[in-house]
Symmetry: C2
Subunit: 292 residues, 2 copies
Amino acid sequence: MEIGSVITELSGLVDRELVRVCDRYLSGPAPLVKAMRYSLEAGGKRIRPGLVLLTSDLFGGSRQAALIPAAAIEMVHTFSLIHDDLPAMDNDDFRRGRPTNHKVFGEATAILAGDGLLAFAFELIAKHYPGSAEQATALIRELAEATGPGGMTGGQVLDMTFGESGRDLAAVEKIHALKTAALIRAAVRMGAISAGVADLSAVSEYGLNLGLAFQVVDDYLDQTSTQGDLGKRTGKDGDANKPNYALVAGGTQAAYDRAKALVEAAKAALTDFGPSAEPLRQIADLVLTRKK
Amino acid sequence: MEIGSVITELSGLVDRELVRVCDRYLSGPAPLVKAMRYSLEAGGKRIRPGLVLLTSDLFGGSRQAALIPAAAIEMVHTFSLIHDDLPAMDNDDFRRGRPTNHKVFGEATAILAGDGLLAFAFELIAKHYPGSAEQATALIRELAEATGPGGMTGGQVLDMTFGESGRDLAAVEKIHALKTAALIRAAVRMGAISAGVADLSAVSEYGLNLGLAFQVVDDYLDQTSTQGDLGKRTGKDGDANKPNYALVAGGTQAAYDRAKALVEAAKAALTDFGPSAEPLRQIADLVLTRKK
């Protein structure tokens, strides 16, 4: 199957699973549930849950089981988008082509919608993951570590304070590793855990490099695309002291070269897997060529 | 032992456990870790973790094991205080006698410090709870449910929108149940789970009534105390459309009577336990007579 069709199929699966778990398990005051679902069901590339599913596939895991951690990681990703967009943070008005959560529901509800999605993600795994308790605990550990102060949340703090203590590439890559790559690495690890695999080293290496590449390309696109293309404000990294790889490395060509090397490293980590890893390799190639 | 001494001992244990787990397991950018620890280590009554430990004691559980869920629930409580105090929410400047998190570290870092504490709480249980994976999963389920849209986060949304659709006692009690009692009920359930107990009905009944009583007394104290007594702004519920039991019920006497009945109901739930439940009964009495 063409990778484009695979991605379309996976994002459809994920979209339906998100609706299913919200319909079935999400309860709470109507304005909160509405705000949570507004951002969760706004679409998006569904990269992280797609990686959970494809990595589970790679090891022969059950799709049905992997859908729960897939839904949970997309909730965590959505939580981070809602909080990052807040006026106190990046102050963005558009996301995925729609007004951001706080523009629609107000700042207080947006903060709580993010909080609610984060807690609900862990509840979903702890309560509804169909595999063993050992697997559920391992999945939660991965997701929590990648989300917390040593992962995404820490990366956002460094992102906001970038420039205060130097603007070099090492600082940029540290931020990319925490803010973006930690959760993408967690996605492939969670897929492998769901499939019952113990040795996570190869997929971790793949996920880390893919995550770093993804963010370098994001930085590159911020410089070269329009809001119409991306569904969010672009060129914004030039407004402020932002850790944009292209800006710090001195140009979009340098960023492209770096992303290409990272994609190669991601694919190299999968050498031992043969043809069954083809979808993951093609996803890596797509990260490099994507336009949005 | 006098209940006052028991509480002093327990809060000392909890304080030391919080420092221990942060020293040992909390890593991330220094400004974030500092903001997280500022609020976490600001003291407070440590009611929720104390209830985890005492309920574990009641069933002969291991104190050492119960300290991990105890620390985790205090992290979740602290996360909720940091977010509730934000300008977009209750906009409070003082908490536990000190400037609130956002007054010291700024709004963005305060939001992220809360997020970080929430994720770290789940990481702590998933990674470091010394009991079985089944217990760890059950503990996370309790904590996540009590925190999420069907618990505390939902309660905060209802709190903010109180008055928009009527100001009656039923609405006030619904908010108290979600915003305060859910996490206190979770505390005793987590203590029982940590001790390996399956039948959580009696302690759940105790926890729910205790939690409701706790919030009614909070409302009562808001009307009758000063900032010097409580370490936070008082009389604030009169400023706005706040779900304060004393205000809605028509006076502090009505609130006191309701709190007394709830405390009796909490104690009645423990009838079958005999003398071993004495500390939990005395805690209930203390909730009624507390001045801060």
